[in-house]
């Protein structure tokens, strides 16, 4: 639990942070530190410099602009969980943040840090995929936006270049969404977590998005579930039929002391159903 030695630098702006990232050595960005510091203490990560971005002005906070909700990268899980704006316009996101870890983790950990780290069992990825969130990234060349469903690429691997920073996340207001999770009792990460979003018009599901975390190397869309929902009448039968195909065909399911691949496969169905049921009630 003793990290190797490192230098510390506090960035004053995104551009300053980007410049510091490019200054050589193996630099890492530090926000809440709740993924990075434990890895450093175990010496699984040995950066030579930590660039503290937690106090960059404007990098944290939740605001609504032009009908979109913007969440700064340095916004803590606690702030997301307790946001009245989100409770009103996008309750599933607040609800997801409330299930992360414990109060200490939620008070320090940040949404940008969680996304950049991309733990395979992290909670945010599933709901952000379901909400069709955009991740806003800044690098030397300027700004770009990536869809959450394209951002997560593999085990701890995301669409982010070494000299890029996640600046924030943008979601559309969406009431008809929910997150359901099987807690791992030690870490309170997700053994399986499912985010679901339903848009309904005139009793018919006009659009559906479902994201899965915890089950394999990275968060993914459950396309078969979405296909089983879209265009169908909103009914118990539709939901049950869609949940029944959740996870089918996935062949790289995680297996560990907490849950076998078999069990995870079944739990994907159970928690897909639970997320859909709540999303439906809210839609």
């Amino acid at each position: 639990m003793i990290p190797t030695s490192f230098d510390y630098a506090r960035a004053t702006s995104l551009d300053d942070a980007i410049a510091k990232l490019g200054a050589g050595g193996s630099a890492k960005l530090l926000a809440g530190g709740h993924s990075l510091i434990p890895l450093m203490k175990l010496r699984l990560s040995e950066p030579t410099t930590l660039i503290d971005i937690a106090r960059i002005p404007g990098l944290s906070g939740i605001t609504e602009k032009d009908g979109k909700i913007q969440i700064g990268a340095a916004t803590t899980h606690h702030a997301v969980a307790t946001s009245s704006l989100l409770a009103d316009k996008c309750p599933a996101l607040a609800e997801t943040a409330a299930t992360i870890g414990d109060p200490q983790v939620r008070n320090r950990g940040t949404i940008g840090g969680s996304l950049a780290h991309a733990d395979p069992a992290a909670d945010y990825p599933a709901i952000l995929v379901a909400l069709d969130a955009e991740i806003h990234i800044k690098g030397k060349g300027g700004w770009r936006a990536v869809k959450a469903s394209d951002f997560f690429q593999g085990l701890f691997t995301v669409d982010l270049q070494p000299e890029e920073i996640i600046a924030g996340v943008q979601v559309k207001p969406q009431k008809g969404a929910a997150y359901a999770k099987l807690h791992q009792r030690a870490s309170h990460f997700a053994i399986v977590g499912v985010g679901a979003s339903l848009e309904v018009s005139g009793g018919t599901i006009s659009a559906a998005r479902v994201g899965l975390t915890g089950a394999s190397t990275h968060a993914i869309r459950l396309a078969a579930v979405e296909a089983a929902l879209a265009g169908k009448p909103l009914s118990d039968a539709t939901i049950a039929a869609a949940a029944a195909v959740a996870g089918d065909g996935l062949d790289d399911l995680n297996s560990d002391i907490h849950a076998s691949a078999d069990y995870r496969r079944q739990m994907i169905k159970v928690f897909t159903k639970r997320a859909l049921d709540v999303a439906r009630a809210r839609a």
Partner: protein
């Protein structure tokens, strides 16, 4: 006449812990807060294989680092630090403080670095390279015994550390004679036999503060001071002196604030001997602080006892006999009390029942794992678990209410003191009263209706009930190799304030509060005027320490006795001042006055002052007001109780949720019910943790898979319902306070009651027993199997 405020009687009242303000404000001084000029830091290079021969150790890179004072391999350390002693009379293999030639568990130290700071020490330890010739790891205790297994210690064939030791009906106390006729008859006459293999799994104690040691050998004086996060500084002093060829009068051991022990800090560890030995050799102060990753492998584990249980009974529920075959997986080495812990499981196999015959056999086995030793409950939760789960299985088989089955087999209350088959003499008890109180508190009849209603709705809800009796207030000396007494000294200072020194070494038990309550009442002085000192052999002359739920029962009794001696002397001084007879005096509200004539009195402080400036000195008296006492109880105490659980299992996921937990505990007379409830809460948390979410897991190579809190679940508030506590009070006759001890009680009954509730919840699937922990997937598979 000066009027004094009326002082409330404090014993028995809910006084808030005086320890808490400093601890919750971060104002406590722990081992890591101790800093000495010139102090250097230790780091250990630990084995990353579970079993292997050390082929080579290369320390050159570490030694070359600037700021590294010294590096020692196990061989080098062995030249000046003796093998580890143990505290039990059992045979034990040689155990080097730092491995020489062979490593026997992942995490065993192989080299030590001394450096100018902790970070550098750790860097240097990382720079040491060790080559191993890996040997097969022995992980499964039954496989360890069978056939021709890999042998961990040469002189212990088939990895048998101890045993099989027989105990129970027809066994001579020294084991020389074993007569099986009674137990054989019980099973011959049985109308029903319950047989089950049950695993009481390995746990990691996980105190909030990991261990730590600072040792300061002062060469000029030839003395050693050692600060350690320990439960028993006096025992530490004895062993440190012995290991370093010093007199006990040349060693001072200090336990500063200790952030939890749970039994794991009774043991004297290799790191304590190494830090002390190196401090003496290098003549410099040294510090080592355990980190959390180290704590998981280098601090002892608890439990890990396998039980084969057979219960013989008649169909009316009368139990005729119990057979219990125990296999304890003690890990790689014998530590201070390792070998003795499973013998407590034997001792308590009689439980709360008047079984006609019992046969227990115990085998302790070496494996390539972290050694086990005492962990909260230490052997008694295992005994309770095996017997109570078997009783529950019997009740189910007979379709009897589990409470009725217990009632039918209890030791009747008029038979105490009760001589058990296992050698214990239960001091006092009224088990039926505790059961009735629990049934009443839980509203058992309504609880059963609630369960049945939930079931009718398709929910998987179950109830579990467990009795327990444990052995606490550990003493007399015949039952503890270190001595089974406790010591106290009470001094009335010149200003009337009171300083008391206790050999108990509280680290969360709240004895600074409970002992001050006792003295405040004994002398009728303000609570705030009393200071309790502990945890320093330079201040407290003698002591044993805090473990086995003994501080109040044994340490409190010693304090009561010492207080009585001082009070009697103080009365003599007061009698001289007041020209009265000492027997006519009363101590009341900070004054000592003549009974029936309150005007004729002196303040407590005035009498104290007189005792130190005694002009004139009353004939036959020495100046001063200070005395001490050693209290040796005539027997252990045997607290008991009944815990009831209600649990629901999610039919779709297998996730268990504890809905209710009712705990009725009888710890004899209580000094402070608030503190007792806190102790019960903590015990319940760990008992529930064992049942539901805690489990140390190794893979087949002996690698620990639960080496952090990401994988080893520490119970949190969200894992519990609101506890429903009640008590019965059956004082013990073995000490003057009538107190029995309560520190471990919560871990006793809760665990089996929860597992029984889980089995009850899943009864529609035909399951009879579920091994802990209640992993959701395990429960889900039972549900799937039942539906298939």
């Amino acid at each position: 006449m000066a009027t004094s405020p009326v002082l409330p009687k404090l014993v028995g009242s809910r006084v808030k812990r005086r320890e808490d303000p400093r601890l919750i404000q971060g104002k406590g001084t722990y081992v890591d807060d101790v800093k000495i000029v010139g102090m250097q830091h230790l780091a250990f290079k630990r084995s990353d294989v579970a079993h292997g021969r050390i082929v080579s150790i290369d320390t050159t890179a570490a030694e070359a680092m600037e700021g590294v004072e010294a590096v020692f391999t196990g061989k080098q350390i062995a030249e000046f630090v003796k093998p580890m002693p143990i505290g039990t009379p059992f045979p034990s293999p040689e155990h080097r403080v730092v491995a020489v030639d062979v490593v026997r568990f992942a995490g065993e130290p192989v080299a030590v670095v001394v450096a100018k700071d902790r970070y550098l020490a750790r860097d240097a330890a990382d720079a040491i390279t060790v080559q191993y010739d890996t040997l097969p790891a022995v992980v499964d205790p039954e496989a360890a015994l069978a056939g021709k297994p890999t042998v961990i210690h040469e002189k212990f064939a088939n990895n048998v550390a101890i045993g099989p030791i027989p105990g129970g009906t027809g066994v001579a106390p020294d084991g020389s004679k074993v007569d099986d006729s009674a137990i054989d008859a019980a099973f011959k006459n049985a109308e029903i036999v319950i047989s089950q293999r049950m695993m009481n799994q390995r746990l990691a104690p996980s105190a909030m503060e990991p261990r730590g040691v600072v040792a300061h050998y002062e060469a000029g004086k030839g003395t050693m001071t050692i600060w350690s996060s320990t439960q028993n500084p006096h025992i530490l002093r004895t062993f440190i002196a012995m290991m370093n060829g010093m007199g006990e009068n040349e060693v001072r051991a200090i336990a500063p604030e200790v952030g939890g022990g749970f039994g794991a800090k009774i043991n004297i560890y290799a790191e304590e001997y190494v830090v002390a030995g190196l401090s003496k050799r290098l003549e410099m102060p040294l510090k080592w602080i355990e980190d959390r990753s180290e704590a998981f492998v280098a601090t002892i584990h608890g439990r890990d006892i396998l039980g084969y249980v057979d219960l013989a009974a008649k169909r009316d529920g009368t139990v005729l006999g119990l057979k219990l075959r125990l296999i304890a997986d003690i890990g790689a080495y014998n530590m201070l009390l390792t070998a003795a812990i499973p013998t407590l499981t034997m001792l308590m196999a009689n439980a709360t029942y008047a079984f006609p015959a019992i046969r227990v056999t115990l085998t302790e086995v070496f494996t390539n794992k972290t050694p086990t030793d005492a962990y909260r409950g230490a052997g008694r939760p295992e005994a309770t678990y095996f017997v109570e789960r078997a009783m529950d299985m019997l009740a189910k088989e007979l379709e009897m209410d589990p409470a009725d089955l217990r009632r039918k087999n209890f030791i009747p209350k008029d038979q105490f003191p009760f001589q058990t088959h296992m050698g214990a003499v239960y001091d006092s008890g009224d088990y039926e009263k505790a059961l009735d109180k629990a049934l009443e508190t839980a509203n058992w009849a309504q609880m059963k209706k609630d369960r049945d209603k939930a079931r009718a709705e398709g929910r998987l809800v179950g109830l579990g009930l467990s009795m327990y009796v444990e052995v606490c207030g550990i003493g007399p000396s015949a039952s503890l190799p270190t001595g089974g007494w406790e010591h106290a000294q009470v001094t009335i200072e010149r200003d009337g304030r009171i300083t008391a020194m206790t050999g108990a070494s509280p680290h969360g038990q709240g004895n600074e509060t409970t002992f001050a309550q006792m003295l405040a009442d004994q002398f009728s002085v303000p609570f705030e005027h009393i200071t309790i000192l502990h945890g320093d052999t330079g201040v407290v002359k003698q002591g044993i320490g805090t473990f086995g739920s003994r501080s109040q029962a044994v340490g409190g009794a010693a304090l009561h006795m010492a207080g009585g001696k001082v009070k009697s002397k103080m009365a003599k001084f007061a009698a001289a001042l007041l020209e009265a007879h000492e027997d006519d005096l009363v101590f009341e509200n900070g004054r000592i006055s003549v009974k029936g004539a309150p005007a004729k009195g002196k303040s407590f402080a005035e009498v104290a002052s007189y005792a130190y400036i005694p002009v004139p000195l009353p004939p036959g008296l020495e100046p001063g007001l200070s005395d001490e006492a050693f209290f040796e109880p005539s027997n252990n105490t045997y607290p008991f109780g009944c815990h009831i659980s209600m649990l629901e299992i999610d039919r779709q996921t297998g996730e268990p949720t504890l809905l209710r937990l009712v705990a009725v505990d009888d710890a004899g007379n209580l000094i402070n019910p608030l503190i007792v409830e806190g102790q019960i809460h903590g015990g319940l948390a760990q008992g529930i943790g064992q049942a539901m979410i805690e489990e140390v897991v190794y893979n087949e190579d002996g690698q620990l898979l639960t080496g952090s809190f990401m994988d080893y679940a520490m119970p949190r508030a969200i894992d519990f319902p609101r506890f429903e506590l009640e008590k019965t009070v059956t004082p013990t006759p073995v000490n003057p306070l009538g107190a029995k001890g309560c520190g471990e009680a919560g871990t006793l009954g809760s665990t089996p009651s929860i597992v029984s509730a889980a089995v009850d919840a899943l009864s529609e699937f035909g399951v009879k027993h579920i091994d802990m922990m209640l992993r959701p997937e395990k429960l889900w598979r039972i549900i799937q199997g039942g539906q298939a």
